[in-house]
Structure formats: structure tokens, C-alpha cells
């Protein structure tokens, strides 16, 4: 079942005198997110990630296109009782304590007072905020606010969770804790839609990733799918490669280097790779392994974005 579906969404913001200045935040963006996944949306600043979430939450109206959550077409106020949201920049009433913030937003979510009385302490414990439950929010640090924000997003026990930069301002230990919480939520069958700049974290927890730039979907797939397909091959060898073999190999590939008993060859296609292997074998080089090198998600992301920017 699809948790989130977007079909040809576009959003153009207008501003200025007579609304003649136009910024296209989303341009025919389509996406489908299966239930029970951790799905991450990546993109540079201004790519349209937050606009997409805001359309799903009916904070912003799409210019064209349709979207649905759990099969229910948007906009729909009722569906919001089944979702949780942690905005990128959130401002809680500073005069309330952490527990009071959860109570207030829980009631706004339609959660019964009796249920809240049980859920608030357990959520505060989950995000490690029990000892600060009675402190006024205005005294909270950025990291504490993020933890409270996560608890707030979970206050209605949502099926789908939208998190915009959830680990922003959180220390490494806290980030690990949040990752564990998200994994546990996934185990419970929740769908988690994540916007994050921290690609190393996204790589660690996401089932699927979509890369967005200038309002367009560039690529979508699992982390494995996005990080494989590189053109670098690590060729394990015994001994050294004769100079003449190296020179001939360099003519066949984009880049070639040797280090620690291995050759690294940048081959645009497998044909070039096979030619290099044939050449090395002709020169009597003993090959022990050929491994396609995996890009990090960050490398794949940068490579994709650069390809888009290139004329």
C-alpha cells in the first residue's frame, strides 16, 4: 500500500509588484512511497524538499498536480490525525514546559486526555527528556528542542511521520539515539519520510532515497541502487605491473592508478574493463580480484547534482 503518492505536482511562488517574480519550487514532481519504509528526500538548498512536505501537509497549495496520503486525496484535514510532523524550524510556546507542549499539541491532534497522561511520560522517556519535562521550553537548547519536537510529532501515535532535518543541532550521541528511535518506529510499521542534509545518516537508515533538484526528481531507489554503478574498479594483482602494461592500460581508461598491490581503473563501460584485464593478462599479470567500487551516498548525490548543473 502506498503511504504517500504525488502525481505531477508543481508549485510556483509569485512575489513582487503585480506578482511578476516567479520561482518554480516544484516542476511536475511525482513520487510514491510504500508504507512501512524509511524514505529520504535529498536535494540541495532550494530544491523543493520542504515545499513538497508542506504540500502534503496542506500548508502550501500546489499550483497543479495531485497528492494523497494513505490513499486519501489532499487537502484533507482529517488525515492529519494520522500523521506526525517535525518542521525544520519549530517554535514552541516558550512559557510552556516540555510536558505542557506535548499536552497542548496532543489535544490539538484530538488525543484523549487520559491517553495523553500515559503517553507523554513514555514519549519524554523515549526521547531522553524526562528530567527536563518541567522546565520552560524557552530554556531548552537546540538539541533539547529537537528531541521535544520528535516527541511532539509522535504524540498522536501517527502512521506516517514527516521529519524535516530531525537531527539538526543534535550531538552525535543524540543523533544515534534518534536513528535508533526511527528504526524502532519502522519496526512497528510506521512510515517515515525524512528530509535531511546529513547524507551519512540518511545512508544508515533509509530504505529508499529520492534526489530532488530544482523541483525535479533526478533519481529514486534504494541506497544500494544509488551508490553502486560507479565506474571505478579495484583490480587486485600479485606483484607489480610492468611499465609498458601500465602505459597501454592508461590509453584504454579514463584514469588509472596503482597502490598497495592493486590497480584502480576508471572504466566508463565493462568493455574497457575487459580490455584492461586482457591487456594485463597478456603481460603476465596475475589478477586476484575485480571489485566495482561503491560510491558513498554523498558522492552519488554530488555527482548527480553536478551532472544536472553541467551545461
Amino acid at each position: 500500500m502506498l503511504a504517500i503518492e504525488a502525481d505531477s505536482l508543481s508549485k510556483t511562488y509569485t512575489s513582487g509588484l503585480l506578482r511578476r517574480e516567479r520561482v518554480e519550487a516544484l516542476a511536475g514532481f511525482s513520487l510514491a512511497v510504500e508504507s512501512g519504509q524509511i524514505f529520504s528526500l535529498l536535494g540541495p538548498n532550494g530544491a523543493g524538499k520542504t515545499t513538497f512536505i508542506k504540500i502534503l501537509l496542506s500548508l502550501t497549495h500546489p499550483t497543479t498536480g495531485r497528492a494523497s496520503i494513505a490513499g486519501i486525496p489532499l487537502p484533507n484535514v482529517g488525515i492529519k490525525s494520522r500523521i506526525g510532523y517535525l518542521p525544520e524550524s519549530h517554535r514552541y510556546p516558550g512559557y510552556l514546559t516540555g510536558a505542557q507542549v506535548l499536552s497542548f499539541f496532543g489535544k490539538l491532534s484530538g488525543v484523549d486526555t487520559g491517553v495523553l497522561a500515559q503517553r507523554i511520560p513514555s514519549l519524554l522517556e523515549l526521547v531522553g527528556m524526562t528530567q527536563w519535562r518541567g522546565m520552560k521550553v524557552k530554556k531548552y537548547s537546540k538539541g533539547m528542542m529537537q528531541r521535544l519536537g520528535l516527541a511532539q510529532a509522535l504524540i498522536n501515535d501517527p502512521e506516517i511521520l514527516f521529519l524535516d532535518e530531525p537531527t539538526d543541532g543534535v550531538d552525535p550521541l543524540g543523533r544515534k539515539e534518534i536513528r535508533e528511535i526511527l528504526k524502532e518506529l519502522k519496526r512497528k510499521g510506521k512510515t517515515i519520510f525524512l528530509n535531511s542534509h546529513l547524507l551519512s545518516e540518511v545512508e544508515l537508515i533509509s530504505d529508499r532515497v529520492a534526489i530532488l533538484d530544482k523541483g525535479k526528481l533526478l533519481k529514486t531507489g534504494t541506497v544500494d541502487e544509488l551508490t553502486t554503478g560507479g565506474t571505478n574498479y579495484l583490480i587486485g594483482i600479485v606483484g607489480t605491473v610492468p611499465e609498458v602494461a601500465l602505459a597501454e592500460s592508461r590509453a584504454l581508461v579514463l584514469r588509472l592508478s596503482t597502490a598497495n598491490g592493486a590497480l584502480t581503473a576508471d572504466c566508463p563501460t565493462t568493455a574497457e574493463l575487459n580490455k584492461v584485464i586482457d591487456l594485463l593478462r597478456r603481460h603476465g599479470v596475475e589478477i586476484t580480484s575485480v571489485v566495482q567500487q561503491r560510491n558513498s551516498l554523498e558522492e552519488s548525490f554530488i555527482s548527480l547534482i553536478k551532472r544536472e548543473v553541467a551545461p
Binding site: K54, Y85, P93, G110
Partner: protein
């Protein structure tokens, strides 16, 4: 339940600000002053209102005495009306712009509440906070005058409701501009300009703007504007008349109710179309 949460949350938000406490503090000082200074002396010649134990006038018959006390209460009510509107606008003008700020509106609208509910909750919460302040002053003034002077003027209590209503009408305009601009300063300025310039000029159009032209269309537009917007000065005038026991004309209240409802509906429509 959700709307009630919004209303009570807004009341709590306002109670965290100093402005309403200043108004309550001023009210308390006036009430203490009234309790300390007002009393009544009754002789065979009639009743006399005493201020600091000194007669404020010659002995009067019960009817005349009652009229005197009612006029005094009307003066109190007039001062309160101005105070409520001024302090009330300062205290509440930021409620909607704050709620619509980035980071706050996202939280509200991600919950299962409609945009009009957010507006209604914030609006009613602000009006409720002002109502509590007004009733605090009016209620205790009514009790003090009743106990110390023996005149229980029910119209004074009714005036508290009317003052709240007049504030609610003005706050509808402030709310509209709060939604339009999301800026507290602009909302306050518009509120003041409306209160002290536009509503006064329209109220007294026959003595002022009418003289600029005899054109019927021009005068019709002025009349139209007068009836389209809440009639704050006319309501104030009627509140004072009511407390003084001189009857009341309901027309400005009915027209102001209709125009304020229209203004709030416009604010809700604009809020519904906004992107955040």
C-alpha cells in the same frame, strides 16, 4: 475540544504577557480607590454621596441620587472603554501574527484543525482574555458601588458585555490585518487609525466629509462605509447612555455584529488561500 484547546491556549499565551497584567493592575488601583473613597450618607433630607467622607453634593431624593451614582459609573465605564480598547489592542494584536509565523503555523496546521478553526480559536481566546479583564473591573466596581453606596446598577454589568463586544468588533479588523500582513505593528497601526480616525470621521461624516461635496454618490459611499465597518464610537456612546440609565439604541451593535462577521469571514477566506 480542539477549538477549546486553541481558545484556552490563547488565553494562556496572553496571560504570559505583561500587558494584560498592567491593565488588571490599573483596574485594581482604581477599584481600591473606589472602595476607599466611596460611601453614602442617608438623612431625612435625602442621600448624599460621600467622597473621602466629604459630601459630593447636597442631599438628594432616591431617584436623583441613583441618577448621580449611575452617571459616576458611566464615567468609570467610559474610562474603562478607552482603556480596554487601547490596552486590549496592544495585548492581543500579536496573537495572530505570532501564530502565523514560520515554525509556529507549521505546527498548528499539521494538526487536524482547519485554518478557520485556528483563526476562530485565536480570535475567541483573545476576546475571552479581554472579557475576563473587563468583568474583573466591572464586576468588582458593581459590587463596591452596591455595597458602599447601595445602588445595584445591573446596566453596569450589561455594559461589560457590550464593551467586550465592541472590543471584539475592533479586534476583527486587527485580525484581518494580522492575517493579511502577519505583522503585529501594522495590525496595531491599522487598529488605531481605524479607531481614532476612520471610525470618528465616518461617525461624524454629516458634520465633516459631507461638506466636501454635495454629490449624492459621494455621500452614498460615505454612508456605505459607515455601515460596512464596525461603529465603535456609536457603541461607546450607547454604553455610556445605558450605564447612566438613559436607554440604548441597538442598531450600532447589530450593524457592527454583521460587519465584524463579514470581516472575520474575509480573514478566514484569505487565511485559507495563504501558502506557509
Amino acid at each position: 475540544m480542539k477549538l477549546l484547546t486553541l481558545v484556552l491556549g490563547t488565553g494562556r499565551e496572553l496571560s504570559a504577557k505583561a500587558t494584560l497584567y498592567v491593565l488588571a493592575g490599573i483596574s485594581t488601583l482604581i477599584l481600591l480607590g473606589a472602595a476607599a473613597t466611596l460611601s453614602r450618607s442617608t438623612t431625612d433630607e435625602g442621600s448624599t454621596l460621600l467622597l473621602f467622607g466629604n459630601p459630593a453634593g447636597p442631599p438628594a431624593t432616591p431617584e436623583v441620587f441613583s441618577g448621580m451614582v449611575n452617571s459616576m459609573e458611566a464615567a468609570f465605564a467610559g474610562g474603562l472603554f478607552a482603556g480596554v480598547v487601547l490596552f486590549g489592542m496592544f495585548a492581543t494584536a500579536g496573537v495572530l501574527p505570532d501564530a502565523l509565523e514560520r515554525g509556529t503555523v507549521d505546527l498548528y496546521l499539521s494538526k487536524p484543525i482547519a485554518r478557520w478553526e485556528l483563526l476562530a480559536g485565536k480570535y475567541c481566546g483573545s476576546v475571552l482574555a479581554m472579557f475576563v479583564n473587563i468583568i474583573y473591573f466591572i464586576g468588582f466596581l458593581w459590587i463596591i458601588v452596591g455595597v458602599r453606596v447601595g445602588i445595584w446598577n445591573m446596566n453596569l454589568l450589561l455594559a461589560g458585555l457590550m464593551m467586550t463586544f465592541a472590543f471584539a468588533c475592533l479586534f476583527a479588523i486587527v485580525s484581518l490585518f494580522g492575517v493579511l500582513t502577519r505583522n503585529m505593528a501594522i495590525s496595531i497601526i491599522v487598529g488605531f487609525v481605524y479607531l481614532f480616525v476612520i471610525s470618528e470621521v465616518l461617525q461624524n461624516r454629516e458634520e465633516g466629509l459631507y461638506h466636501l461635496s454635495t454629490n449624492e454618490i459621494y455621500r452614498g459611499i460615505l454612508d456605505g462605509l459607515y455601515y460596512v465597518f464596525p461603529q465603535i464610537p456609536a457603541m461607546q456612546h450607547n454604553v455610556l447612555k445605558l450605564v447612566a440609565g438613559n436607554g440604548i439604541e441597538w442598531r450600532p451593535f447589530v450593524q457592527s455584529f454583521l460587519s465584524s462577521t463579514g470581516i472575520l469571514a474575509l480573514a478566514a477566506w484569505i487565511l485559507g488561500r495563504k501558502d506557509f
